[in-house]
């Protein structure tokens, strides 16, 4: 296990270095320059040049990367070019927001989707299975922006039950924050439901058709025990891996949902940084999302192993 962890952490570090290099590399072909983004389209070129000089964005990208990387080694994630504040000051609240939304979405989405998948798998081929499967596919096929607008129209505008934006006021209670986060979390639940439910359903069907389940039934075990001890135990590990991978998306990839619900998450922050070519902020943001993604993938692997005794981490590698 220790060997496995060391190896995974080493690989994660390499991945993060590559990620930062790719971001800096891609930035050279991205349109836009910081001076122009700050001063706007109608500023004179002299003003833009002066600002770029002041910010150091007219230096070669390699120099900028080396500067940024050496700062990172000393624990400094850099300074945002457009805001002139440490990038962590911008990333920390955005990351906190993203985690809050991801957490609420997970609380609703994961049990709901897994339950849907289990029911569909156990009712394989019947009306319930078809209803869950078709509904899930339809919801997954719908862009999250559309799903979100429909939910807003119904719950915020027609019924007036929930707020239209996701950002509660500063200092709001946990309950109020939850109220504000419900609509975006529901949107994400609807988007992810089909995917997670289908994976669970497939696992359940496979387990139901397996020899060990048949043996369990032949041994005379009650259905509830067979399902709990044999079917679910074997069907859930792939689902957990899929769910863990979704964490990266839920934390860093929700630009459309964050725009629609006016929520300051890290996805939106990174997107804005890319649009304005704010390289330190962009790279730091991508790294933070990358770290979240790697950590949750690692957690998923460990959980996978814990739930499936046939897998021994590091033993066969």
């Amino acid at each position: 296990m220790t060997r496995f962890l060391i190896k995974r952490i080493g690989l994660a570090l390499v991945t993060l270095v590559l990620l930062s290099l790719i971001v800096f590399g891609i930035s050279t072909i991205l349109p836009g320059n910081v001076g122009r983004a700050v001063l706007g389209p109608f500023a004179t070129q002299e003003s833009v040049d002066a600002l770029n000089e002041q910010l150091g964005t007219n230096r070669p990208v390699v120099t900028q990367y080396v500067d940024w990387a050496s700062g990172l080694l000393q624990g400094d994630l850099g300074t945002s070019l457009t805001k002139q504040v440490p990038t962590w000051d911008l990333l920390a609240p955005a990351l906190e927001n993203s985690f809050k939304l991801a957490f609420v979405a997970f609380l609703i989405c994961v049990p709901f989707s897994i339950l849907g998948g289990i029911v569909a798998g156990l009712r394989y081929g019947r009306f319930t299975d078809k209803t869950i499967t078709i509904t899930g596919i339809s919801l997954a096929a719908m862009p999250e922006f559309v799903t979100g607008i429909v939910l807003i129209l119904v719950f915020a505008i027609w019924l007036g039950w929930l707020p239209v934006t996701a950002q509660a006021e500063e200092g709001a209670s946990a309950l109020t924050q939850l109220e504000y986060l419900l609509l975006p979390a529901l949107t994400l639940t609807l988007v992810l439901f089909g995917y997670i439910a289908r994976i669970t359903r497939a696992g359940v069907i496979e387990a139901l058709e397996s020899d060990y389940t048949r043996t369990a039934y032949l041994k005379g075990l009650p259905s509830s025990v067979v399902v709990r001890k044999h079917v679910l135990r074997n069907a859930l590990p792939p689902t957990i891996a899929v769910v863990a991978v979704q964490v990266g998306y839920l934390v860093g990839g929700l630009v459309a949902v964050e725009v629609l619900f006016n929520y300051q998450g890290i996805g939106l922050l990174v997107y804005e940084a890319a649009r304005q070519k704010d390289l330190p902020l962009l790279t730091a943001g991508v790294l933070v999302v990358g770290i979240v993604y790697l950590v949750f993938t690692l957690v998923a692997d460990i959980l996978y192993a814990a739930l499936n005794p046939r897998i021994r981490l590091g033993a066969t590698e």
Partner: protein, 562 residues
């Protein structure tokens, strides 16, 4: 008209008025200007309300109307305002985005104010006077104006602010074309003198909110560019900043010592929105009371709906379809005229802007400007003439791309022109870019002026904000030396007329120049200006006494909640 009035006017002309003020009076008494234009001119040259009233009486016009009575509102309450999020800085010398200038314009104020009807009104400056050739302007400041930190505003603050705007590294150059740091000085605690680089007959407009990089800051902040926001955005406005979370929200509270009287509202809560869709939804759901600005399409649900108040304000903001006059298919003026002739402008205003626009005549002279000559014939759709012009120019098979970016009405506007062009056999493609690509050099890092798409593509569609006078459009978009001259238009006669216009203080001279310039632009057609947009927004019906303003400032000093 009584003898007393005549005597007071004569006394004023003899003892107080300079040549420019006397010129304005002559224009009124000679019947050269109507009442509305006289008011614009008189306020611009700093004539007092009493003098203006007496002059109107003398000319047999109705006297100054008092402002519309304000609706009764309860004192207190907090208004919730939705503003689009902005990426750029809030520092006044760097302001360039609608959201940023709307927000900064609540705590911050300007020397003068360009009213929705196009007059320039006293604000932090109470009066002003030019010298005989309008190269030196002397402003008297309003006394007793207090900053949010309790300090009185004096000439030192104005001088320091103005010096920052013309001198700070990276400044947006809103004022630097007109004077430099040594051109502004104090002449007493409440007097500021501007010595301009050249004659400018409309200078008071240029220090109003339409040049948004002109907020008056305390001298201590103004002397150190980039410290205003961190210092709490201290200005003289009716509300002072209490809390600001970048890209998220802001809270302002009543400035109890506001020079314009105690504001009815206790506070303002601003939410910054990512894009207009969530802003519209928030207004519909009752989560905000007032939106900064909406497109005509976004404004539709709020029209004729008793739960909301819908606002529409004619402005000088417009779109420019610029055609390269120096290269490519538009080198021949006949081809440019042909494209301008295919557009059915009244129909397009209805289709693209849902009526929230005024037809343009391919020049920047909005009919609301006093200096605009209104006798120029309006260009109308003429497909037969367009085809004939194309034939004569050997351009029957005209093919080109119109380049623009994904902003408000741009894509609909481009598609509309494309459809009209097809009627005359013109094949027009549409290239829609992201804002950062449209306004950046191409490729990134290359020389900006010679590569950026918006200044170098064959044909471009670009937006221009509202101004109180057309000066900036002329100097930067149409004159040969203009740095926003996307059509690469060069016409010595036009340049000369523009220079004459800029220096002219007499309305007749300004109108004569705009008439000639409009004629030249109809003939040469380097730019198609097919409409001037109306500023559209909406609020909850409980918001009272709100008057929108064409460049997206949000004035809340008199606003209250029912």
């Amino acid at each position: 008209m009584d003898r007393e009035t005549r005597r007071s006017v004569e006394e004023y002309r003899r003892n107080e008025a300079g040549p420019l003020e006397n010129q304005v009076i002559d224009e009124l008494l000679g019947g050269e200007v109507d009442r509305e234009d006289f008011l614009r001119r008189a306020t611009m040259f700093g004539l007092g309300a009493g003098t203006i009233g007496a002059l109107l009486r003398l000319a047999g016009e109705s006297e100054l109307a008092h402002a519309a009575p304000l609706e009764a509102v309860q004192a207190g309450g907090t208004i919730r305002v939705g503003i689009p999020v902005f990426g750029a800085s809030l520092e006044p010398y760097l302001l360039n985005e609608g959201g940023a200038l709307a927000f900064s314009g609540i705590p911050g104020e300007y020397l003068t104010f360009t009213t929705p009807t196009g007059n320039v009104a006293p604000w932090l400056a109470l009066s002003w006077r030019p010298n005989a050739n309008a190269t030196v302007w002397t402003f008297q400041l309003r006394r007793g104006v207090r900053f949010h930190n309790g300090r009185e505003m004096t000439s030192a603050d104005v001088v320091a602010s103005m010096r920052q705007y013309v001198g700070a590294k990276g400044s947006n150059a809103g004022l630097s074309p007109f004077f430099d740091a040594s051109g502004v000085s104090a002449a007493g605690r409440y007097t500021v003198v501007f010595r301009l680089k050249s004659s400018i007959g409309v200078f008071p407009y240029l220090v109003s909110q339409t040049t948004y990089q002109a907020i008056i800051q305390p001298a201590s902040f103004a002397a150190r560019p980039g410290t205003w926001v961190a210092g709490g955005m201290i200005g003289t406005g009716p509300f002072r900043l209490r809390r600001y979370v970048d890209k998220r929200s802001a809270e302002l509270v009543r400035h109890t010592a506001y020079w314009g009287g105690r504001p009815p509202l206790a506070g303002v809560r601003i939410t910054f929105f990512q894009g207009s869709a969530p802003l519209v939804l928030a207004l519909r759901a009752g989560q905000i009371d007032l939106a900064m600005q909406l497109s005509p399409q976004e404004g539709q649900p709020f029209r004729n709906n008793s739960r909301y108040t819908y606002y529409q304000l004619p402005t000088a903001a417009h779109r420019q379809v610029c055609m390269r006059t120096d290269t490519g298919p538009f080198r021949d003026a006949r081809v440019r005229r042909a494209l301008a002739l295919v557009i059915n402008r009244p129909q397009q205003v209805q289709r693209v802007m849902l009526g929230a626009a005024q037809v343009g005549n391919d020049n920047p002279f909005w009919r609301g400007f006093a200096s605009t000559d209104r006798s120029t014939k309006q260009r109308t759709q003429n497909l037969t003439l367009a085809r004939a012009l194309l034939r004569a120019a050997g351009a029957e098979n005209l093919r080109f791309n119109l380049t623009t970016w994904n902003f408000l009405d741009h894509t609909d506007h481009a598609a509309s022109i494309q459809a009209y062009a097809r009627q005359a056999g013109i094949e027009m493609g549409i290239e829609v870019m992201d804002v950062s690509k449209y306004y950046d050099s191409e490729p990134a890092g290359a020389d900006y002026a010679t590569t950026t798409p918006w200044l170098n593509r064959t044909a471009t569609l670009t937006e221009y904000g509202a101004r109180g006078v057309p000066n900036i459009y002329l100097t930067r978009c149409y004159q040969s030396t203009g740095d926003w001259n996307a059509s690469h238009y060069k016409n010595a006669e036009f340049d000369r007329l523009a220079t004459t216009y800029l220096a002219a203080a007499e309305l007749a001279a300004q109108r004569a120049a705009t008439k000639k310039m409009a004629g030249i632009l109809l003939r040469d057609t380097p730019v198609i200006t097919d409409y001037f947009i109306r500023y559209v927004t909406a609020s909850s019906s409980k918001v009272k006494n709100y008057v929108p303003e064409g460049i997206s400032h949000i004035r809340l000093a008199k606003v209250g909640l029912a």
